[in-house]
Subunit: 349 residues, 2 copies
């Protein structure tokens, strides 16, 4: 019988072991499939915009959701200034629990897992929205999320060439060095204009907490798919408003995206399509070859839920977790105080 | 230099060691003082009603708050049916983080800590609201929270006699056996009427998820203080509405209490006093000896915050925690993927 007090915990080290054991590209493909599966049954989820605590340096958020059988939440921060201090901009951990009892089933690091699920979500959306047989992607912003995006688009969408630009050339160098041997053709670019040349997919993934214009209107030609990752909190956008007005816009969860996404620049009733409806077949995705599609991604709790249930399965298969004594479990449930008394007696003995 | 990736974790076992090392009554007194301190600076907290996910068997809640320097949240479930299955009705864990960086500072079990902070909050409120020199408390409901309430009222308010009643006599027996040697005079009672006889403080702490009438109007005499703990979610109350109409009602955070507390039975504009105002001296507490005061307690995030910062201090003093590898910490913050690559290289070697 399993001990009720113990909760499996996946450390950063164990997360890396799980990912490397399965292989990074297979993990990205698996995650994309799980996320797609959960988007298809979107209506079975209890959804709420994340609960954000803003401060001058950044934001701390809780992102809960439940499908009625499992409950998941993620703790995540976003502190753009951290990078200069040698800290991660985004760190995260999460928990999966059993709805019927409220008992935790899994506690896990989610800094790495968030990077993986974000990239898998982007590529999953592009599978439905990008031009058929797209081979070239521009990537503007070459920070912590960049390699994951590149590999997810290779593994899931068949991208062969990535054109890289970052305001800081050392970020591009890091990215190219890391992706050497990935099988991708990597083209460092001197400016965003050069990066978007010939690209069918434009990924923007910068981290500054401000209104910025990473892409201007004249850089976006007919028929491209824009994967906008970086604009993900109030006051932080990446695209010129005119681009949004020319695009068919797809979002995760409108009540959250209207506050946090690129569309915070638009009227509150500007039409958007919910991505889950495209996946469920109740709304059209890309309609023609000249259309500009835009995935205005801010990250939603359901994506973390999919990632948590995937890692929960893998922990059960691989045992790559340590057990934490996290839940008080007296022999008689009403005897919480007695548990303390017995610990006292044991100390005295 | 401290390792950025490691987060101190207080297991159930370490929480018991910390509490027993300091002593249970001193811990309850310390917690009451910390909670009072934080209630006094109530306006410096970022407050929001807890985020609840309800299901047929219970509820899972996230309770975040921040004072601008520290951020805390608690995960807590409430599943009354669990008890019959040999599980805790309430289990919890929590986290304290640094607002400036978003990095976690402490992860801790909070099943025990919630029991302690709930009792400390009750007694702290009674210190301001109960009749002067009260010596006798009735306690209706003798479950997991009962002993903590009894000891907190002894340590913080000077209660000498506790009159116990539970619909299940074995719960009362458990409670009396556990409190033997506490110095309290313990009187088991056959019904709630007998329990309230001569009591100056009436504590109701039952766990059924339903509208119940633990106290009827005729059982509540002039001048008593009612400490109502058990009515703490929509559809769950303990007191007859007529009692509420005769009482001066004190609450933690009105937007939450109006939904979850005893006052869900009253009009949305029924006057209540915020407890923090009594503590800060901007609203009166008990005004005369015949008044009935009622602390309609549902538990609020600030109380958990006080408990988290207390335990964080004690962990720094005692070292009673284990270190969890919870935060991905690459040498170069933008090089999250490189961390994975290096782990892969290390595996291959």
């Amino acid at each position: 019988m399993k001990s009720l007090n113990l909760v499996p915990f996946v450390s950063v080290d164990n997360m890396m072991r799980i990912v490397l054991e399965i292989g990074l590209e297979p993990v990205l493909r698996d995650l994309a499939d799980r996320i797609e599966e959960d988007f298809r049954r979107w209506e079975s989820f209890d959804k709420t915009p994340r609960v954000a605590s803003h401060s001058p340096g950044g934001v701390i958020e809780l992102m809960p959701t439940s499908d009625g059988a499992l409950y998941g939440f993620k703790y995540v921060n976003g502190h753009p200034k951290n990078m200069k201090e040698g800290l991660q901009t985004v760190t995260a951990f999460g928990l999966l629990a059993d709805v019927d009892t409220g008992y935790p089933l899994l506690l896990t690091e989610m800094t790495l897992l968030t990077a993986l699920r974000t990239a898998a979500s982007s590529a999953m959306a592009a599978r439905h929205l990008a031009p058929k047989n797209a081979k070239v992607m521009a990537m503007i912003g070459n920070g912590a999320q960049a390699e994951f995006q590149a590999l997810a688009f290779k593994a899931i969408c068949g991208i062969e060439e990535v054109r890289l630009y970052d305001i800081d050339a050392t970020a591009t160098e890091k990215c190219i060095a890391n992706l050497k041997g990935s099988g991708l053709r990597l083209v460092p670019c001197r400016n965003p204009e050069e990066a978007v040349e010939g690209a069918e997919i434009l990924t923007t993934v910068t981290a500054d907490k401000q209104y910025a214009t990473i892409l201007t209107d004249n850089m976006v030609g007919a028929g491209v798919h824009i994967n906008a990752i970086g604009g993900d909190c109030p006051g932080k956008t990446e695209l010129h408003r005119d681009i949004l007005l020319r695009s068919e816009i797809f979002v995760e969860y409108p009540p959250q995206t209207r506050v946090e996404g690129e569309i915070q620049q638009l009227a509150a009733d500007h039409p958007v399509t919910e991505l889950w409806q495209v996946i469920a077949g109740t709304a059209p995705g890309r309609r023609d070859a000249r259309q500009i599609t835009l995935f205005d991604s801010v990250g939603f709790a359901v994506e973390d839920f999919s990632a948590l249930r995937y890692i929960h399965e893998k922990v059960q298969e691989t045992g790559m977790a340590q057990m934490l004594d996290m839940i008080a479990d007296p022999d008689e449930p009403r005897d919480l105080y007695g548990m303390l008394l017995r610990a006292q007696a044991a100390r005295a003995a």
